[in-house]
């Protein structure tokens, strides 16, 4: 029976090969836990963050899935019934708060979280998420274009409604960008609803475009595409470092802001490793990393002063009522859309 001998040999060879692969792979698997981390951190932050964490946790390897806040948030919600992420590191706290309300997170208070500034905590025990740093929505002003057009430098939100700036301001569209929403929510909170809408009516006359991104406005201002961008702070600072003629201005009325947060995804198969990440994310070392790009970080004793960042930013942060923001979001966006979105609100 040549056939069956051959078959048996082939099978034996196959089994041996499989076993060999198994033996070779087994120690490698035992050595490192691969932690899938979803994030909206900046691209250039990923490598330093990963290296620093892995240096202190040699048994764990971070595998990033990085995209913009909106995409990562939508992806996590879509994967809700069968989660693929183990942890979240560097995503807007409004997103993690939403996940918490959808029961998607594994509550865990990291070791050392009690040292954080109170506003960086979720307020629940154990915390479904913990803050890392804050980013602000401020004004980026292109000084080169300002000089060319002989435009005054604005100092307040109210200044932005002056006719000098007709059609020269860009800001994120609150219906498509979280930064846009926190910006208008801040105005409504500082000025009160009635005055807030009146301010936006006046500002609308000067808006060239509502962009579908929170980081684009300061980039457009940096490149002289627009005179003024209202948007994310650190993008403005990094553009300035690259040589853009812009000033980052903190309007005197105060600023809207958002936290970046860390959280553990419910149902992760790597809970222990995910907890290690959550623990590490509140350490001094981690906060020092955050402090390289963000002016406001969670640990009070870490001094944050990124290059080209306005020094007066932290005191200007408004008392932000996150719960109010979440509860009124639908109503405010509907009103905003009715007033300003597209041609439904022709300019005078």
């Amino acid at each position: 029976m040549i056939d069956s001998t051959l078959l048996r040999r082939a099978m034996l060879a196959g089994v041996t090969a499989l076993a060999a692969v198994g033996i070779a792979a087994a120690p490698a698997l035992a050595q490192k836990t691969r932690l899938t981390v979803y994030t909206a951190l900046e691209n250039d932050q990923l490598d330093p963050f990963k290296k620093a964490f892995e240096a202190d946790n040699p048994g764990i390897e971070i595998a990033w899935v990085r995209d913009s806040t909106g995409v990562v948030t939508a992806k996590l919600i879509a994967e809700k019934d069968n989660p693929r992420a183990d942890a979240i590191w560097g995503l807007a706290a409004s997103s993690t708060a939403l996940f918490a309300s959808m029961n998607m997170l594994e509550p865990y208070t990291p070791k050392g979280a009690e040292a954080l500034k109170p506003m960086f905590r979720s307020g629940k025990t154990p915390d479904p998420w913990v803050g890392m740093d804050a980013y602000l929505s401020l004004v980026c002003f292109n000084t080169a274009e300002g000089k060319k057009g002989n435009k005054p430098v604005p100092a307040s939100w109210a200044d932005l409604t002056k006719p000098d700036y007709k059609d020269s301001i860009v800001m994120p569209n609150p219906a498509s960008s979280g930064t846009g929403y926190l910006t208008i929510a801040a105005w409504l909170q500082i000025m009160g609803e009635e005055a807030g809408w009146k301010f936006m009516d006046a500002l609308h006359q000067n808006i060239a475009q509502y962009i579908h991104s929170g980081s684009a406005p300061c980039v457009q201002a940096a490149k002289g595409e627009r005179l003024i961008g209202i948007g994310l702070d650190m993008r403005g600072a990094s553009e300035k470092t690259k040589g853009a003629p812009i000033d980052l201005i903190v309007p005197k009325e105060g600023l809207g802001w958002e936290l970046e947060a860390t959280a553990i995804v419910k149902g992760t198969k790597n809970l222990e490793a995910a907890k290690k990440l959550a623990d590490w994310a509140v350490t001094k070392k981690a906060n020092e990393l955050y402090a390289k790009t963000y002016a406001v970080v969670a640990l009070p004793d870490v001094k944050a002063a990124p290059v080209n960042y306005p020094v007066n930013a932290e005191p200007a942060m408004i008392k932000n009522d996150m719960e109010w923001m979440a509860k009124n979001r639908e109503r405010i966006l509907a009103e905003w859309t009715k007033r300003y979105d597209g041609k439904s609100a022709p300019k005078k």
Partner: protein, 558 residues
């Protein structure tokens, strides 16, 4: 051979089994994922069934009509510009004696080689606030309707050209000889022979361009200004507000053009007759100096327009800081500086594109052949036709999210595909199925069914006719489909952005991320690398085409 049933031969049975299998595949690749998202339009955010509540609230917002009107407006204007341009270009390529024909053909495809980010960036360099030719706009702004139309014309031109070249490439010279002998004027010949022959291609091209513009989101986002369209509405709902229910409603509204396209296609198909009968004599253009000069001039102008946009992007990838430091540098090509994955995502893209081209072409062509050549079995063939038309009208982000809901559902036996390179390939083939299907159908329609009849009477199995006659005749179109899939896989963003895993990030997605991070020059550089890759593949294709045409298409020459 014992006959099974009157009228149902072995061939018929095999073909019908094939059609059923194809329908099943398309259902898994397109139908079910789409439904798993669109069904959310009938649910509230917690997943409870609410009937048409979401539709009622959406239709009662004035914003809808604005967006819908804007979408229709921009799609109609772009179609009216692109189709005649593409027709003239395709006519010049196929029916005149054009010097450097291969070069013009290659240039016409450049826009498909580029991620939609590229025309957006180039237009800003050209006509933006700091742009070189801003004065040409006479105080107007590139952001808005005009910008969208210019970018869409650039972006859709190759899609229409590809279909129209296929439609015009095969013609029966005897018709022209007869018209000539009867003394018909050139104009009359054009309107009574050329146009009717290309009618199916023309209508397909118009439908494709119209729906592409309707569903494209990337261009509207970069250059659209405050001009709201339906595709940006989907983005606002899904990405901006995580409201999948409303996103599904807008997605459903966007399917209307596809349904229309499907109906129109059916109506036209009924009247289409094969152009290339078994006795046909292929048409070979003869030199006519006047006409050839005009054709060359026209193609040169179009080619310069395309090259200007590409050239602007290449230049933009080589400067230090637009617009304040225009000194040149190669630093922007060191992608590791701006993206942790560096060049890895580029190689992922190449792997994905090769896979999608290989499997996608086999599936698309065989599928089109099955739907065209199966006799009877109308219901099932209609199902396949409908599923083949759907992807074109689906905004990428609807398809991408649908893939998450469907393939990642607990208990789906196909779940192993999720977060692999495989799902990116499947998704890309599904997303770009329609144009491949139309190209293959156009090519197949031009072949006389007599080939099959003769084979059948000679008792040659139909699949042998497929392998020995049909496929070789259609080889140029098959290669076109493969290239089409490859280049689209290199540039696609909107759908795969939801589906990549840590090890399978793609270059096109990386380019968008890099641009969002403000490093415009590096984003332009990555776009340029993608264009050059696709261009290189296309050059290999042109060489192969020549060689294959020489061998396999020798019968076309007299």
């Amino acid at each position: 051979m014992p006959s099974v049933k009157v009228g149902l031969s072995r061939d018929d049975l095999v073909m019908r089994a094939g059609v059923v299998l194809l329908a099943g595949l398309l259902l898994v690749m397109v139908g079910l994922p789409l439904w798993s998202l669109l069904a959310k339009g009938f649910q509230d955010q917690d997943g409870r069934f609410v009937g048409l509540t979401n539709y009622v609230s959406y239709f009662s917002t004035p914003a809808l009509f604005n967006s819908a009107l804007n979408s229709l407006h921009v799609a109609a204007v772009s179609t009216v510009i692109v189709v005649p341009l593409a027709f003239l270009y395709a006519y010049a390529l196929t029916r005149t004696v054009l010097p450097l024909r291969w070069l013009f053909q290659g240039i016409s495809l450049i826009p498909i080689f580029a991620p939609s980010l590229l025309p957006g960036l180039a237009l800003i360099y050209l006509f933006g606030t700091q742009g070189f030719f801003k004065a040409l706009l006479g105080g107007g702004s590139i952001y808005g309707f005009d910008g969208i139309v210019i970018a869409q014309v650039f972006y859709c031109f190759p899609h229409a050209t590809l279909i129209l070249v296929t439609a015009l490439a095969t013609a029966d010279a005897r018709l022209y000889e007869a018209a000539d002998a009867l003394g018909a004027s050139k104009l009359r010949v054009f309107f009574t022979v050329t146009l009717p022959g290309a009618k199916y291609g023309l209508i397909s091209a118009a439908l494709v361009v119209f729906t592409l513009v309707m569903t494209d989101f990337g261009i509207a986002k970069v250059i659209g200004g405050n001009f709201n369209v339906l595709a940006t509405d989907v983005y606002k709902q899904v990405i901006g507000q995580q409201n999948f229910s409303m996103g599904a409603v807008v997605g459903m509204v966007l399917l209307a053009p596809a349904a229309l396209a499907f109906v129109v296609d059916r109506l036209v198909q009924r009247k289409q007759v094969a152009l290339l009968t078994a006795r046909a004599v292929p048409l070979v253009p003869t030199p006519k100096p006047g006409r050839d000069f005009l054709a060359t001039l026209f193609c040169t102008v179009v080619a310069i327009g395309i090259l200007a946009i590409l050239g602007m992007a290449i230049w933009g990838s080589l400067i230090k800081y637009w617009p304040y430091n225009l000194s040149l540098t190669l630093d922007n090509y060191d992608f590791a500086k701006v993206d942790a994955n560096g060049w890895d995502s580029y190689w992922n893209s190449v792997e994905m594109a090769v896979g999608a081209a290989f499997f996608g072409t086999a599936l698309t062509f065989t599928g089109a052949w099955l739907t065209e050549k199966t006799r009877g079995f109308y219901a099932m063939r209609s199902v396949v036709q409908l599923l083949a038309f759907l992807p074109m009208a689906v905004p990428g982000l609807v398809l991408g999210l649908g893939y998450i809901f469907f393939f990642n559902a607990p208990g789906n036996p196909l779940g192993f595909l999720y977060a692999t390179m495989g799902i990116l390939m499947v998704n890309t083939v599904a997303h770009f199925y329609t144009v491949g299907h139309l190209t293959a159908t156009t090519a197949l329609k031009q072949i006389d069914p007599e080939f099959e009849s003769v084979s059948a009477s000679l008792k040659v199995p139909i699949w042998r006719t497929f392998g020995r006659v049909t496929a070789p005749i259609c080889l140029p179109s098959i290669l076109d489909i493969a290239i089409y899939l490859f280049v689209n896989a290199m540039t696609t963003v909107s759908s795969v952005i939801f589906l990549y895993a840590p090890d399978t990030k793609l270059a096109s997605v990386a380019a968008v991320n890099i641009e969002e991070a403000g490093t415009t020059a590096a984003a332009a550089a990555l776009c340029v690398v993608i264009v050059l890759t696709s261009a290189a593949v296309k050059i290999v294709h042109l060489l192969a085409d020549r060689f294959l045409l020489d061998r396999l298409q020798a019968w076309r020459r007299r």
